[in-house]
Symmetry: C2
Subunit: 424 residues, 2 copies
């Protein structure tokens, strides 16, 4: 046996006492005699189960039927121009399964066959091109995990807490592994000589759906890490995420991740489309608007406990967990407060932060039923610290819809019930 093995052995014995309460509280045998489940024959040991031929594509088990995307009816006029929310309160880890990854579209999700798919590159290029889906598959591919956050995520918190649940306050986000072709590669293929000096040039991107959802992207970003993606978490994009091809714009607001990507035009300026003037800009207190607010600043939220995931066990060990992310790069630290921001503790990052991707954090505490005002604050590799709601309002007023990355507060009662509240 190695020395380190022995050292670890001693270390884990010290750890035992701290966690003991949870186990004793939960084990049925501790208080109420033998556990009927383990003293009687367990039902499922006496029959054979479902064969491998019955589930060519597997779905979640029926007991998890509540772990689904949910929309809010009053949010928009019609579900085809609305959004639903990732059930982040019920997930763990960092990857979001496609099946419950939030979706937002402006004129509904369309059914577009690969055979019918075309992508045009035109404008200030040497050679305008039209690619089929098959063409795209012949270019060198790249891949990475990125978060996609709607600019309106947490937007209802500007003027006051309105939605009671992390799914609704922070669920316009997902985090998937994308595979595709670098946009740079495709622009190279068309040739950018005709564009002259690339400084100050833009690309305009639009989708094949009725809304077209056109957005302008500065050339420097277009040539940096933008992907023309066809797979998410290994498999084809889902219809509602832009099948067969969407744009992935790492770290930037989700509206720019154009779905059913149809056209990319190289231009000498931005288009100033509807989606970057009347929408996706932030109205400030004085009536002027912040524009070109593309990058999603560092942000975090505690997913458990939270209003939809109250504490359902007794006092003692409690796992506090949540998600943190930054459009500027890696998360380097997350702090958690149990007293509404008066004191802070360093949370444990489950894995080292990845650039422009979700990071899971945990804080393991011994909860004795004290009232808590739970908060988390993210710090990214640029040194940026997630602001309080008061700090944001001081600068931006109350009229914005987008880009609210403020610290969220959950009030936890001695019964373990959680509510969305504000602390002054």
């Amino acid at each position: 046996m190695s020395d380190s093995f022995k050292t670890s052995r001693r270390a884990f014995l010290r750890g035992s006492a701290a966690a003991a309460a949870g186990t004793v509280a939960g084990a049925a045998s501790a208080n109420s005699g033998p556990d009927p489940l383990i003293t009687e024959l367990q039902d499922w040991t006496s029959y054979t189960g479902v064969g491998v031929d019955e589930t060519p594509y597997g779905m979640p088990i029926e007991f998890e039927k509540d772990v689904v995307r949910r929309n809010v009816e009053w949010l928009t006029a019609d579900p085809i121009s609305s959004i639903n929310f990732t059930p982040i309160h019920a997930l763990d880890g960092t990857i979001t399964p496609q099946g419950c990854a939030f979706e937002r579209h402006h004129s509904g999700a369309i059914e577009l066959r690969k055979e019918d798919y075309r992508l045009m590159i035109n404008g200030l290029v040497d050679k305008p091109l039209v690619f089929t889906y098959g063409d795209l598959e012949r270019f060198p591919r790249t891949q990475a995990v990125y978060f996609c956050e709607c600019a309106a995520n947490t937007g209802m918190e500007w003027a006051g807490s309105q939605l009671n649940g992390a799914q609704f306050t922070h669920g316009m986000i997902h985090n998937m592994e994308y595979t595709g072709v670098s946009l740079r590669t495709l622009l190279e293929e068309a040739g950018l000589g005709a564009a002259g000096d690339l400084a100050g040039k833009w690309v305009y991107v639009e989708g094949a759906d009725a809304s077209s959802n056109g957005r302008s992207i500065p050339m420097e970003k277009a040539l940096d890490d933008v992907l023309v993606a066809f797979k998410a978490n290994g498999e084809a994009l889902r219809m509602e995420h832009g099948y067969p091809v969407r744009l992935v714009v790492p770290g930037w607001e989700g509206n720019m991740w154009v779905k059913w990507l149809r056209r990319i035009e190289v231009m000498d300026g931005p288009v100033e489309s509807r989606e970057e003037t009347s929408k996706y800009t932030d109205v400030l207190a004085d009536g002027t608007a912040r524009k070109w607010t593309w990058v999603m600043d560092a942000k975090s939220v505690i997913t458990t406990p939270s209003p939809q995931a109250p504490i359902s066990h007794g006092y003692g060990p409690l796992v506090i967990s949540g998600l943190a992310w930054s459009g500027h790069g890696k998360i380097t630290r997350v702090d958690v407060s149990r007293d509404g921001g008066v004191t802070w503790q360093n949370a444990r990052l489950a894995q080292e932060g990845q650039t422009k991707a979700l990071t899971r954090f945990y804080l393991d505490v011994d909860w004795r039923g004290e009232e808590m005002f739970l908060q988390s604050r993210a710090i990214d590799e640029t040194g940026y610290v997630q602001p309080t709601k008061a700090q944001l309002r001081e600068v931006r007023g109350l009229n914005s819809i987008y880009h609210n990355n403020c610290i969220q507060t959950w009030h936890v009662t001695p019964e373990g019930i959680c509510e969305n509240v504000e602390v002054s």
Copy 2:
């Protein structure tokens, strides 16, 4: 504009010519006049699509209905004791979605509610314990992406190529992000003082299904990186993957990743159960058996092109892609041969290798219709090099079923058709 931006600009212009053939071949406008799809109104721009309220849990689009797990009827007597295969020929990236991640069970997948779930730790422990599902959620959690490979993956290649498709030759593998509690933490909770010197001690793990599928694991591994997991790719395990709790034994054969985990007994030796004597051992040429062959050695396979994913486009740019993995740690290099192992080229790893997880590799080539004998070989951080089929047979004979990590060969015709072949 920065200097590196200018440099890259020049570099991508050089790259254009190489890829041009693919684009020209694929763009409908190049040979046959205007593309009807882009000169006429595109159908999907004239209607609104599916609203966000219609897909609370999303499924793949109908056009991808063939990207599913498949089983082989003759492989076992009954589907409840059989296996189905991940459609790796149709996936990209590294994450396997749960819905199409292979499954293997010995008596069918069972429906076990969280409320009915119990996990016992007994044997040589200070304090035998029974955990509910709720108890497990109160211990500190950890997470990582790991591959799970059935020991029998590629087993049909020992005596000759029998299955024509990467899904069937190499699809008993999946790669997911797991979240759970370290087995070490739970063993600490029960206390290992009663076990005395831990060197030579084992744990015996079994499931709640009728087969129970018991396996012995040496204590050193049990205290290393084994997880008692409840989430995969962020959400609850699927029924067929052991809902609500399975064991994750990174780098080790899939049979040890016990599903519906029911009991962990600390013992002073291995049980030598059916699953580690008559099964999951490798019969050698002389009739003796290799035993305790837990670690899955470094291995790789080209997923495209492959028999189920032939080359469907003309000559010119071709993306060769595949997966590599090692139970001993990280993949550090993958080589690809187009001439059956005579000459090798260094493939590009899509991301830096992660320990005991799948690594995606790519080789971008200019294919001019030449016949190819495509092979890949993986090298891991220990310096181990994936062996040829001949090298493996020389040592192990032809009688084995398990642990075949040989180099795979696909024969590619000038028409792009791929077949499973052997090269001498």
